[in-house]
């Protein structure tokens, strides 16, 4: 009883707001606390940045594609994409009118306490950011009745518990043009790596120009019916920095995708994808789940740490 009281008596908790050394405290019950209003402030700033400033790795990838592209029309289209990114940043306007439904990934330390509601704090940040940024409200409250919620909430929040007391939040405004083209498949285990590659390439071919190529392709392999799409989204949210352990697999898919000739906007060319990110997880002896989540050329994200 003595132990429980120490841990759970809120009067005994020490607030170490914005301090990163909470773990260093040698009293077992010291816990870092962050305030919901600070999460709101961070989300507001992050959605404005994400929607107006294209991440540097994506800009570099489009520039590289522009240099290499052999089809004149495709080069023109890539040039407009680069010009758009410059204009959006300087004018602080939305890169794309589809400012998406916001996917929020929260990496939260298990030794951290949030004072207030995380969910409400995130949605309030989106509400304020979308109003200030003049971003489109693209969310309907009910998929059948389809009334716009008017403020682009609610977000889709993925919570991941990590060790320690860190708090990292990534906002990912995801447009529907690309999201609608995603696919999940439950392959036979014997299909192997080649089966996965074929599945991803078929998904890209089927999507054609609709998801706004050149694409960022997120692939999730393994787990079960719900794991694979979450892995695919996680892969898509990673920068294009070839940092993962599956580079050969990723490059094999990328090469096949760019051989399709779909090109920027589906109008033909060498550049159908800017990159492929892949995440894997253990799976059942009878399963080979694979999910493809397509990101457009304006794959937007912004990460903040509190």
């Amino acid at each position: 009883m003595e132990y429980l009281e120490k841990v759970f008596n809120p009067r005994k908790l020490t607030c170490l707001h914005y301090s990163s050394d909470a773990q260093a405290g040698n009293k077992g019950y010291i816990m870092r606390t962050i305030m919901a209003r600070d999460i709101t402030r961070a989300v507001k700033m992050a959605v404005i940045k994400a929607n107006t400033v294209l991440p540097p790795d994506i800009i570099e990838a489009i520039k590289g594609a522009y240099e290499r592209e052999s089809v004149a029309l495709a080069r023109r289209v890539l040039g407009i994409m680069l010009e758009n990114a410059e204009l959006a940043q300087s004018e602080e306007m939305a890169l794309c009118q589809d400012t998406g439904m916001v996917v929020v990934h929260v990496g939260m330390g298990q030794d951290l306490h949030i004072k207030g509601s995380l969910e409400q704090a995130v949605n309030q940040g989106i509400r304020e950011g979308y109003r200030e940024g003049h971003f489109r409200a693209s969310v309907v409250g009910d998929p059948i009745r389809r009334e716009n919620t008017g403020d682009n909430t609610p977000a889709i929040i993925h919570l991941e518990l990590v060790q320690g007391s860190s708090f990292t939040l990534t906002v990912f405004p995801k447009g529907a043009g690309s999201e609608n083209m995603g696919l999940v498949g439950m392959l036979k285990p014997g299909a192997g790596q080649q089966g996965v590659i074929d599945f991803v390439v078929e998904a890209v071919k089927k999507a054609g120009g609709k998801p706004c190529p050149p694409l960022v392709v997120g692939v999730g392999v393994g787990g079960n019916l719900e794991t694979a799409p979450i892995l695919a989204k996680k892969a898509l949210m990673r920068p294009l920095d070839n940092s993962g352990p599956n580079q050969e697999f990723e490059n094999a898919i990328l090469q096949r995708i760019n051989e399709t000739g779909i090109g920027p906007q589906g109008l033909g060319g060498d550049t159908t994808a800017l990159g492929v990110n892949l995440e894997v997880y253990a799976t059942h002896i009878a399963s080979l789940p694979v999910a493809v989540n397509l990101g457009c050329h304006s794959t937007r994200r912004y990460t903040v740490e509190l």
Partner: protein
């Protein structure tokens, strides 16, 4: 971007000068409409009611813009995926709609109807929302204001860059 300048309303003769792969510049009036507005227009046609604008010779631009900042005519306004409008398109082509601006492939049925009714489907650059907003000089909501971003607006565009994706002779840039 350079190309042939076209000014709506479009005649059959102008449309027949356009071939898949051509760059064109649109200057003049276009009407915005996407999913919800199309649904309403098609319901109106079925009920024998008048449409908010006469589609004869006109261009519909598939877009749902961001809210405009003060002193700006419009917010970010790139094209949305056209195929979602495929089921509604025939009814409008029958009434003389001459052009559509959007992004991505159309259904075979729509492509056939584009030939049959001598119309044109133009692609512009999806995701280039700010770049394209700079080419809109005026925007006025003319119907269904309760649909918000999905309302029908009359836009005046200046040198709006497009690529002929499906022409009136069956040419299709997506089918290579």
């Amino acid at each position: 971007m350079t190309g042939l300048v076209i000014k709506p309303p479009l005649t059959q003769e102008v449309v027949q000068k356009l071939h898949a792969g051509d760059c064109v510049i649109v200057t003049g009036t276009v009407y915005t409409a996407r999913d919800a507005a199309h649904q309403r227009m098609v319901q109106a046609i079925a009920a024998g009611k008048q449409l908010p604008f006469d589609p004869a010779g006109q261009i519909i631009y598939y877009t749902g813009p961001c809210p405009a900042f003060e002193q700006h005519p419009i917010g970010s306004c790139g094209p949305t995926t056209s195929s979602r409008m495929d089921d509604y398109t025939l009814d409008l082509l029958k009434l003389g709609l001459r052009g559509m601006i959007g992004k991505g492939e159309r259904s075979d049925r729509v492509c056939q109807a584009i030939s049959e009714y001598k119309a044109v489907y133009l692609a512009t650059v999806g995701g280039a929302g700010t770049y394209l907003a700079k080419r809109v000089v005026r925007s006025e909501v003319i119907a269904y204001p309760e649909l918000g971003t999905e309302a029908i607006a009359k836009l005046e565009v200046l040198e709006f860059p497009c690529i002929v994706a499906v022409d009136s002779f069956g040419g299709n840039l997506y089918h290579r």
